[in-house]
């Protein structure tokens, strides 16, 4: 019921979710049940690629929630994504056990290489899947809380906020590049073997990861819809459009921004955690400010402030990237730049703006108004009747 209500005025979102759900049914069948020789067989490579896109879509969704609705342009969303990824990577590293190059049952290979004799304290607990999953949301959430609290309290907004988020992700990149940090330095974490006891490269594991990513994306989408359609969502939009007016309406703007920023960082962390087992590696390069900017381009391309546009954008741009980088890798960055310029100039509402013909949406809006008016007139009638009742009762 709730889900139906949330998707009632969101046809684009309903279509996108339906497509994802359909893919989650069809693709496992085409991969596992259809023989490799058949033309309908979907290779495991494609499954992994699509799973990766689903993670990107979740990340884009988290950006659209804060940028499209609250006007917070974070150019460091990749930092939360990567931290979530590292938390998952640490769990996967602990699952390798004695099967590493050096055969040390206690320490990951890179620590043996650095001549460390014991596990640093911050690696403790990562043997447990549950603990690692908790860290996937706690670490990005905590960083966003502290960072956001300081920034929003000091009323850092607009381009200044964007710049310091860039600095944040850059600083993390430099820190994680250092071997002394104990996260594998330049090489990052890789060479994973198992996840929850299943071999990580097996077809069934890949399908399971793909399904997980799809399921999380759909759940996250519905959660975001719930947020933006609630009273909270309208307050957040008001903060985007007229921050000081909202403050004079009696709202503590900082708390609202902080809450939505933390929630978005957690979504990004989950996206990173789902991404790492599918690509098989996490390294500090993911913190690169360029990545974070690219992620914002996905959202702008798809159409900000619509939620489903972010998903469309993440898929389109990344599919384009896959195509481009396979036949002419050097032109990809030019294509990306051109795309951003074209979208900004020609499609300010992004790709999904092409399909939202104003005429249709207006009539939908009007019919909604008529419905509400009808409902209200009935409500008024009942109110009048009840006051009449009271009056007659008083008269008696």
């Amino acid at each position: 019921m709730l889900i139906k209500r949330l998707l009632l005025n969101d046809r684009g979102g309903a279509i996108v979710l339906a497509l994802i759900a359909a893919a989650m049914v069809i693709i496992p069948i085409l991969n596992l049940a259809v023989p490799t020789s058949s033309a309908f067989h979907v290779s495991t490579f494609t499954v992994t690629l699509l799973g990766k896109f689903l993670c990107y879509a979740l990340l884009a969704l988290s950006i659209d929630l804060i940028w499209g609705y609250c006007g917070i342009l974070s150019l460091g969303q990749g930092a939360f994504f990567t931290l979530g990824g590292y938390a998952m990577g640490m769990y996967l590293m602990r699952q390798i056990g004695a099967r590493g190059q050096y055969g040390n049952p206690e320490l990951p290979d890179f620590m043996v290489f650095l001549n460390w004799d014991h596990l640093p304290w911050y690696w403790l607990g990562f043997d447990s899947f549950a603990f690692a999953m908790l860290m996937v949301i706690v670490v990005p959430g905590l960083l966003a809380f502290v960072f956001g609290w300081l920034a929003f309290r000091s009323r850092v907004t607009g381009v200044y906020f964007s710049i310091i988020t860039q600095a944040l992700t850059y600083a993390l990149m430099l820190a994680f590049f250092r071997n002394e940090m104990g996260f594998g330095g330049n090489n990052g974490l890789t060479d994973f073997k198992d996840i929850l006891g299943q071999p990580i490269a097996a077809d069934t594991t890949r399908i399971a990861l793909f399904l997980c990513s799809g399921f999380v994306l759909i759940t996250a989408y519905i959660a975001c819809r719930y947020i933006v359609t609630s009273r909270f969502g309208r307050i957040v939009v008001s903060i985007r459009d007229a921050e000081s007016r909202t403050r004079f309406c009696g709202y503590k703007v900082e708390s609202y921004k902080l809450w939505i920023f933390v929630f978005s960082s957690m979504l990004a962390g989950i996206a990173g955690a789902l991404y790492v087992p599918q690509v098989g590696i996490i390294n500090p390069g993911e913190f690169s400010p360029l990545n974070s900017i690219e992620q914002v381009v996905w959202v702008a391309t798809g159409g900000r402030g619509t939620l489903f546009g972010a998903i469309v954008g993440a898929f389109t741009v990344n599919y384009g990237k896959t195509l481009f980088t396979s036949f002419s890798p050097e032109t990809w960055l030019f294509a990306l730049g051109a795309l951003f310029v074209i979208v900004t100039l020609v499609l300010p509402k992004g790709l999904v703006g092409l399909f939202n013909r104003p005429k249709k949406s207006e009539s939908a809006h009007e019919s909604l108004i008529e419905e509400t008016l009808e409902a209200e007139s009935t409500a008024e009638k009942t109110r009048d009747e009840s006051t009449a009742d009271i009056k007659s009762a008083e008269a008696k």
Binding site: W149, R153, I227, S230, R231, F232, R234, I235, V237, S238, D241, A242, S244, R245, T246, R247, F248, C249, G250, Y251, K252, V253, E254, S255, Y256, L258, W259, I369, T372, L373
Partner: protein, 284 residues
């Protein structure tokens, strides 16, 4: 024994700001903690306020007292400090010296903007600022006096009484038929009324209204005058305005500001015949 309560007591909260952030997530019902004490009839005491921007004194030892239910007009040439005065009362600007009391006991200078707004001082900006992406109804819904903590707004809709109040205000400001129209599509005058309506939704004790009729047609101006007059009595209304004809049509008591302090106070006729006022407005 209530262990939780004990633990709460044992836990010292060092940074008051931080505890406020945490409270913002819960069900904080913000008020001044005490009722506004207006036993001496005066609701707003502005005393000895001085504000300097880079050496320029926007307000210079300003004194202003507003009675409960009064309609006060404030006039003055450009740069007299009218908007700065509103900034000080609503917590946007902190003065260098002076005190601002709401009733006998509440010191407004210690509070932040959202606390002052929740506690009963509403403000309308010079340029109409409404939320253009939302409908008229949603604008009022947002301004409704209710629990404004994050968790509350995420999970709870408005109750029947609050919705009823929105309907009342929609009639009062004459926008009932346009309730589902996007606020961005309203005319200039309608936007001004909507903003006044948003103030009313906060059930304020004091309304600060900055240039309500700037850019309005004659008919709209008349309607606005009626609206403001109907509000006086129930609320204290402070109107800052340039339009003398408009001020004359609503004013009971007028305060003239000049160079950051009060030049004179009185009825419109007294003020207009005051030689000091004539000098300021017409030059020597």
């Amino acid at each position: 024994m209530n262990i939780l309560a004990q633990a709460k007591q044992a836990l010292p909260v060092k940074d008051p700001d931080f505890s406020k952030v945490l409270n913002g997530f819960g069900s904080e019902v913000d008020n001044f903690g005490a009722p506004v004490d207006t036993s001496k009839r005066t609701i707003l005491y502005v005393e000895g306020i001085t504000v300097s921007f880079d050496g320029f004194r926007a307000l210079n030892n300003l004194n202003l007292y507003v009675d409960e239910g009064e309609l006060r007009c404030i006039i003055g040439p450009n740069g007299a400090g009218k908007t700065t005065m509103m900034d000080v009362i609503t917590g946007k600007t902190k003065p260098d010296a002076g005190t601002v009391y709401f009733g006998q006991q509440i010191n407004l200078l210690e509070l932040s903007e959202h606390q002052i707004a929740r506690g009963g001082i509403g403000r309308k900006f010079q340029k109409p600022t409404i939320f253009e992406a939302l409908t008229v109804y949603e604008n009022l819904e947002l301004a409704t006096a209710s629990n404004k903590a994050v968790w509350w707004t995420l999970t709870k809709a408005l109750n029947g009484a609050q919705k009823f109040r929105i309907d009342e205000v929609l009639i009062q400001i004459g926008l009932k038929e346009l309730r589902h129209k996007n606020a961005g599509a309203l005319s200039h005058g309608q936007k001004q009324w909507l903003e006044i309506g948003m103030l009313l939704m906060q059930s304020p004790r004091v309304l600060l209204v900055d240039e309500p009729v700037a850019g309005m047609t004659g008919e709209e101006t008349e309607k606005t005058a009626e609206l403001l007059l109907s509000l006086a009595g129930k609320h204290s209304v402070i109107v800052v305005e340039h339009d003398m004809k408009f001020v004359r049509s609503i004013a009971r008591k007028v305060t003239v500001l000049h160079q950051g302090s009060v030049l004179t106070e009185g009825t419109m006729d007294q003020v207009q015949n005051d030689p000091k006022v004539i000098e300021v407005y017409l030059g020597e």
